[in-house]
C-alpha cells in the first residue's frame, strides 16, 4: 500500500537534529505499524508453557463472570512466559476458553502490546505522537536507533533492548517521554536515553523517574496479567509537574470552598 504515493525523500541536509528521525519517519513511506507486521510464526513449535502455566491461565479465567473476559490478561501471561505470543500460547488460551485458535489469534494480533517476534529483556518505547515528537521525541528516537544500531520494533543482538516508537503514553506534561518496560522515564533527552539503555545493557539497576526499579519485560507482563510483584510501594507519590498546581495553591492558600460555609449559605440545606 505504501507504494501508491511515495513522497520524495527530504534533502539530506535539510535540517539538523531531527535528520535521522525524519528519514525514518517521513522519508521512507510510512510508519510501520503492528498491522503491517508479518503474521504469527505458526511454524514455531517450541514452548516454555508448562502445566503450571496452564493452571495460572485457568486461574485468570476463573476471576471473571465470563471466562472469555480473561483473554487479554491471559495473553499477557503467555508473553511473560514465552517472551512473545506463540502458537502454543494461543492454543493454551483457546483450549481453556473453548475458543478456536483463530479467535484467539484474531485478538492477539489486534493489540499493539502483544508481540509476534521475541522481545528483548527491556522494551524501550519512545513517544513520537505529536507533542512529544515536536518537543524532542523524534531526536531521542533517532539517537537511540543510531546508538543501538536497530530500527523500529527490532532487538539488539545481545537480546537486551527492543526499540519501538510508541503512541501517547499519557505523560504529556513530562514530554518528551520514554518508557522502559512501561515505566516512565520523563523529560528525556538523547543523552539521558542513551545513558539509560547503556545501563540496562550493562546489567545495572535502573529506576523510573516516578515508578519502580525497572524489572524485565517478562516480569512486567506477569504483573499486567494480574499477578502482583509486591513492588507497588516503590517510587514517589507524585513529582514535578503533577504537583505544580497543588504547590501554587498551597502558596496562595487557595482551596475549594468550605462545605460548612456552603450549607450555611443555603440555609443548612446540605444533603
Amino acid at each position: 500500500m505504501s507504494e501508491l504515493i511515495e513522497p520524495q525523500a527530504p534533502a539530506p541536509n535539510g535540517h539538523a537534529g531531527g535528520d535521522i528521525a525524519s528519514e525514518e519517519l517521513v522519508g521512507h513511506g510510512h510508519f510501520v505499524t503492528h498491522f503491517d507486521e508479518p503474521s504469527l510464526d505458526y511454524g514455531l513449535s517450541e514452548t516454555k508453557i508448562t502445566e503450571a502455566t496452564v493452571e495460572e491461565l485457568r486461574s485468570i479465567a476463573e476471576r471473571y463472570p465470563q471466562a472469555r473476559s480473561a483473554l487479554l490478561p491471559m495473553l499477557h501471561l503467555v508473553q511473560s512466559v514465552e517472551g512473545r505470543v506463540t502458537p502454543a500460547g494461543i492454543e493454551a488460551c483457546a483450549e481453556i476458553l473453548g475458543l478456536t485458535a483463530a479467535d484467539v489469534s484474531g485478538v492477539a494480533t489486534f493489540y499493539t502490546m502483544y508481540k509476534r517476534r521475541p522481545v528483548g529483556e527491556y522494551h524501550v518505547g519512545v513517544c513520537t505522537t505529536a507533542l512529544c515528537a515536536i518537543m524532542g521525541g523524534d531526536e531521542v528516537y533517532a539517537r537511540l536507533q543510531d546508538h543501538l544500531g536497530i530500527g523500529n520494533d527490532e532487538t539488539t543482538e545481545d537480546g537486551k533492548i527492543t526499540l519501538e516508537h510508541v503512541e501517547c503514553n499519557a505523560a504529556c506534561d513530562f514530554a518528551p517521554v520514554m518508557m522502559v518496560n512501561w515505566e516512565f522515564f520523563d523529560n528525556t533527552t538523547p543523552e539521558k536515553a542513551t545513558g539509560v539503555v547503556d545501563q540496562l545493557r550493562a546489567g545495572d539497576h535502573v529506576w523510573s523517574t516516578r515508578g519502580a526499579r525497572v524489572c524485565t519485560w517478562k516480569e512486567a507482563e506477569r504483573v499486567l496479567a494480574g499477578f502482583p510483584d509486591g513492588r507497588a510501594d516503590e517510587g514517589p507519590t507524585a513529582v514535578g509537574p503533577s504537583l505544580l498546581g497543588l504547590r501554587i495553591a498551597q502558596q496562595h492558600d487557595w482551596t475549594a470552598p468550605d462545605p460548612e460555609h456552603i450549607q450555611d449559605r443555603r440555609g443548612g440545606e446540605g444533603r
Binding site: P7, P10, G14, H15, G17, G18, S22, V26, F31, T33, P65, R68, S69, A70, L72, Y111, Y114, T129, A130, I134, G136, E139, E167, C168, A170, A171, C172, D173, P176, M179, W182, E183, S208, R210, V223, L224, A225, G226, P228, D229, R231, A232, D233, E234, A238, S242, L243, L244, G245, L246, A249, H252, W254, T255, A256, P257, P259, I262, Q263, G270
Partner: protein, 452 residues
C-alpha cells in the same frame, strides 16, 4: 513562575483560583496507602453513602451537576439513572482508565498518587447503580499504575470496603483491575466493552446503549476515572458544595493538564471556567522568548484554537461556542516554532495507527489523509490537496460508528481554518525548512551543536 497575576484569592466565590480536591493529597508521603488515605477522611464517604438508599446517591450526584470528565461531558448522575432497575440481569460498572487521548495526562497521576480515591468512588458508584461487579479497565502501558491499583483494591478488600457484606451492610461488590493491551480505541466505551469481553476492541453500533445492553448484554455504566473519583467528595461535602464551583452548566472542580511549550507544564485543579490565560500565568507563560501559536482545549480530537481564544472560559459551553470541545481538558500548547503541518501529520498518523478498521471511512480515510499530509510536510503538496483533505474529512466526519473518525478530522479542519497559509506553503517548501525542527525541541544544547 510563582508571581501569578491571577487575581484575588477567592474572587468572591468562596474558593481559590485553584481548588485542589482530587489532587489535594498528591504531595503526601505514600498517599497511595490505605492508612494514609483514611487519615485524611478516606472511606468516610463510603460509610455515608452506604447509609443512604442507592437512589438517593444517584440523586445527589445528579444534583451536583457532575458531568463526565472523559471527554463527552455527559451528566454522570443521569447516566446512572438510565440503568433499568427492573431489569433482572446483573448490573456492571466499568471504569474507563484507558487514558490515551493525545495530550491527556490527568488520570494516570491520579491513580498513581491516590488510587484509593478512585477505588472509594468505584464502590460508591457501584452501590448507587446496584452493581455487584466492577471493573477498572486500565491501559496496559502504565505498569506502576497497575501495581498501585492492584494493591489499593487488595487493601480495600482487607479493610472490608470491598467483597462480601461491605461494612456489614449486606452489600457485595467484586472489583477487578483489568489491564488492556495497547489500543486507543478501547477508550471508546463500547469498544472497551468488547475488549473486556475478550474480543478485538471494536465499537458497537448504538442503540442499544450500554445502560441497557452493555457488558455481557447487561445494563452497564462506563465512567471516566476522574468522574468516579469526584464522587466521594460530592458525597462528603454535598451537591451544593460541588455546584458552588464552576459555571452555570459546567459545575465543580476539574483537573486541567497543561503541556507543551510552557515554562512549567503540569496539572492544575480548578473550577470549570478558568481560562487558558489564567492557567498560563500560573505556569509561567509560554517558554521564554516565544509566543503561543495554537493549542488544544481537550486533546488532539478537539479542534485547535489560537491566541485569540486565551480568554474563553474552559467549560463545556464556552468551548463549544468557539467550535471546539472541552474534551479531557488537555491543554497542549505549541509556540511559533512549531509547524502546523507537521503537528497535524503526527496526530493523523496516530489516528491511522489506532483506527480499529471496522468502518471504511475511518480505516481508509485516515490512511489517505496521512499520505497527503506526508507529501505536504515534505513540501510536495499538489494543487487541490487542501481541498482533498477537507473532502476526505467531510467523508469521515459523522460516517463512522464511533468518535475516533470524527476526532481524526478535528486537527485537520481546524488547522486549515486557522493556518491555511502553511498548507499553501506545503506546495513548495518542506515544513522543516519553514520551521527548523530543532527549534521546537526543549533540550538544552551543547554550544557546539547549536550552531544552526
Amino acid at each position: 513562575m510563582t508571581e501569578p497575576s491571577a487575581g484575588p484569592r477567592t474572587s468572591g466565590t468562596g474558593h481559590g483560583v485553584l481548588t485542589p480536591v482530587l489532587t489535594a493529597n498528591w504531595g503526601d508521603e505514600r498517599a497511595w496507602k490505605l492508612t494514609n488515605y483514611e487519615r485524611r477522611g478516606g472511606y468516610d464517604a463510603l460509610r455515608s453513602a452506604l447509609a443512604m438508599q442507592p437512589s438517593e446517591v444517584v440523586s445527589l450526584v445528579k444534583d451536583s451537576g457532575l458531568r463526565g470528565r472523559g471527554g463527552a461531558g455527559f451528566p454522570t448522575g443521569m447516566k446512572w439513572s438510565f440503568i433499568p432497575q427492573d431489569n433482572p440481569k446483573p448490573k456492571y460498572l466499568v471504569v474507563n482508565a484507558d487514558e490515551s487521548e493525545p495530550g491527556t495526562c490527568k488520570d494516570i497521576p491520579l491513580m498513581m498518587a491516590s488510587p484509593h480515591t478512585l477505588v472509594e468512588g468505584v464502590i460508591i458508584s457501584a452501590y448507587a447503580i446496584r452493581a455487584n461487579q466492577a471493573f477498572i479497565y486500565v491501559r496496559g502501558e502504565v505498569l506502576h499504575v497497575v501495581r498501585r491499583l492492584q494493591q489499593a483494591v487488595r487493601e480495600a478488600y482487607s479493610a472490608g470496603y470491598a467483597g462480601k457484606n461491605i461494612l456489614g451492610t449486606g452489600y457485595d461488590l467484586e472489583i477487578i483491575v483489568h489491564a488492556g493491551a495497547g489500543a486507543y480505541i478501547c477508550g471508546e466505551e463500547t469498544a472497551m466493552l468488547d475488549s473486556l469481553e475478550g474480543r478485538r476492541g471494536q465499537p458497537r453500533l448504538r442503540p442499544p446503549f450500554p445502560a441497557v445492553a452493555g457488558l455481557y448484554a447487561c445494563p452497564t455504566v462506563i465512567n471516566n476515572v476522574e468522574s468516579i473519583s469526584s464522587v466521594p467528595s460530592i458525597i462528603t461535602n454535598g451537591a451544593d458544595w460541588f455546584s458552588s464551583m464552576g459555571t452555570e452548566k459546567s459545575k465543580g472542580m476539574t483537573i486541567y493538564s497543561l503541556s507543551g511549550h510552557v515554562t512549567h507544564p503540569g496539572q492544575f485543579e480548578a473550577p470549570l471556567g478558568i481560562t487558558l490565560r489564567q492557567l498560563l500565568d500560573l505556569a509561567g507563560g509560554i517558554r521564554e522568548d516565544h509566543q503561543l501559536k495554537f493549542w488544544t482545549p481537550g486533546g488532539s480530537s478537539t479542534p485547535m484554537l489560537t491566541d485569540a481564544h486565551l480568554d474563553v472560559p474552559l467549560d463545556y459551553e464556552a468551548i463549544a461556542g468557539v467550535k471546539s470541545m472541552l474534551g479531557t481538558k488537555a491543554l497542549q500548547c505549541f509556540d511559533e516554532t512549531t509547524s502546523v503541518v507537521r503537528t497535524v501529520l503526527r496526530w493523523t498518523e496516530f489516528y491511522k495507527h489506532e483506527s480499529c478498521g471496522k468502518c471504511t471511512p475511518c480505516r481508509e480515510g485516515t490512511w489517505w489523509l496521512v499520505q497527503i499530509l506526508k507529501r505536504m510536510e515534505a513540501g510536495h503538496g499538489q494543487p487541490g490537496d487542501i481541498e482533498k483533505l477537507l473532502d476526505l474529512c467531510d467523508n469521515i466526519l459523522g460516517r463512522s460508528f464511533c468518535a475516533l473518525g470524527d476526532g481524526a478530522t478535528s486537527p485537520i479542519t481546524s488547522a486549515i481554518q486557522y493556518f491555511r497559509d502553511e498548507f499553501e506553503a506545503a506546495m513548495h517548501t518542506p515544513a522543516w525548512e519553514l520551521f527548523p525542527y530543532q527549534r521546537s525541541t526543549i533540550f538544552v544544547r551543547e554550544p557546539a551543536g547549536a550552531g544552526a
